[in-house]
């Protein structure tokens, strides 16, 4: 097994988690992960060291952008229902609000926020994944957070602190 193959395996759970939050649909998310892994393996000869995790997330984001471009050409098919059965029950408002709030963000902002919070990436790593300067990551992160803050406050006047 090559180094890339060995390196891929432990990253699969995180790729699934990120793809799920990004697409909000379990099937779509696993499709994205599968395409990402296949693509990475087919291009492994192009990977000369560097950060494997960053590279994989970059591939995944590119595939997701292609997917969304496809969706946007067909507006009638673009409605993504929040049908993720793995999510918390609707009675717990928090999870649903977060998912709905994320869906309101421009894609680049949603991506940065999830890379930093869900995946715990450094700003430098998030910048590498998106292929932008760190300053762009910071401004996207800042805008994402203020939009979500306004959204959550709008839905729930008193923001509950999350333990």
């Amino acid at each position: 097994m090559t180094a890339v193959r060995r390196g891929l395996e432990p990253l699969i759970p995180a790729l699934r988690r990120f793809a799920r939050a990004l697409s909000r649909d379990a099937e779509t998310a696993d499709d994205l992960v599968q395409d990402t892994l296949v693509r990475a393996l087919r291009a492994e000869h192009l990977f000369h060291g560097g950060d494997l995790r960053t590279w994989l997330f970059t591939i995944l984001l590119n595939l997701d952008r292609n997917r969304r471009r496809g969706l946007s050409r067909r507006p009638t098919l673009a409605v993504i229902e929040d049908v993720d059965p793995a999510g918390p029950p609707a009675s717990d408002g928090t999870g649903r609000d977060i998912a709905r709030g994320l869906a309101l963000l421009p894609a680049e902002q949603r991506e940065v926020l999830l890379l930093v919070t869900l995946e715990g990436m450094s700003y430098r790593e998030a910048a590498d994944v998106q292929g932008v300067p760190i300053g762009t990551v910071m401004s996207r992160l800042s805008r994402a957070r203020s939009t979500l803050r306004a959204h959550i406050e709008g839905e729930r006047p008193q923001l509950r602190s999350v333990p």
Binding site: R17, A21, V38, A86, T94, T117, V162, P163
Partner: protein
């Protein structure tokens, strides 16, 4: 601690635990005297917790079979060998009928694309198989059939031997398509039944499993592979079409580059 003025970026870094240690004291003393900023930082952290709570557990789920590394590796290496083959299948669709020219590839996902393509192929199949005199443009015994289709489609187009399924190659035809010409290859069985294979360029390098569609007496299996979209259409006998589609695959695997 240094005395550089505080920035919004530093507040984010503090909330994310990414602040250099020599700035932590400065930020904390700023927050102590700025309750608004402190509240914002607390909310950002609450948001991070909520996101992790919402999706964190996905990483603990058992990994689905298709994402196990052995299966992904197998898939990735199989695809490389199949690149050429796929094109093999090109088929024919009614030249006059422009319906393959509709943009099926704008569908939201591969499943919908495959379904739309399969439906189109069934329609074309229905149209052309009843054509007794001119079901095809170029007969199988004309040496330029495959080179011609390959050139027009832009990938090697091949016509696998389907003798084991009782099918004999009749010939091929070129149809208009939204991504360039679509190749159609037609076979005829001992009972006079006809089977068509179409190949056309797909917009993305997607791979999908076979998707089955049936409409009345006809059925079709569609799949995407290496930037090409393939459909096998014929009488609605799923098992037989399934075998035929697999033969196309297999034929390609043993002779990836032979024309």
């Amino acid at each position: 601690m240094t005395d550089a003025p505080l920035t919004e970026d530093e507040l984010h870094a503090y909330a994310d635990g990414a602040l250099p240690s020599d700035r932590i004291a400065a930020v904390e003393s700023y927050l102590a005297s700025n309750p608004d900023a402190a509240a914002r930082v607390a909310e950002w952290r609450a948001l991070t917790s909520a996101i992790r709570e919402r999706w964190g557990a996905v990483a603990d789920e058992p990994i689905p079979e298709r994402l196990l590394i052995e299966n992904v590796v197998m898939r990735a290496s199989g695809l490389r060998r199949k690149v050429a083959f796929a094109a093999t299948i090109a088929l024919m669709i009614g030249a006059a009928a422009g319906w393959f020219a509709r943009d099926y590839f704008s569908a939201a996902n591969d499943q919908q694309m495959a379904r739309a393509l399969a439906d189109a192929a069934i329609e074309a199949h229905r149209l052309y198989i009843n054509e007794v005199r001119h079901p095809i443009e170029v007969r199988a015994d004309e040496a330029h059939l495959l080179p011609w289709l390959s050139r027009r489609v832009g990938s090697p187009v091949r016509a696998p031997d389907l003798g084991a399924e009782g099918l004999k190659l009749l010939g091929g035809r070129l149809l208009p398509g939204s991504r360039g010409p679509t190749a159609l290859i037609m076979y005829e069985g001992t009972g006079g039944e006809r089977v068509t294979i179409t190949a056309t360029r797909a917009p993305r390098e997607n791979q999908t499993a076979f998707k089955w569609r049936a409409s009345g007496e006809f059925g079709a299996l569609a799949w995407f592979e290496s930037g090409l979209a393939f459909v096998v259409a014929g009488p609605a006998e799923r098992e037989r079409l399934d075998r035929i589609a697999r033969r196309v695959y297999a034929a390609y695997e043993v002779a990836p580059d032979r024309r």
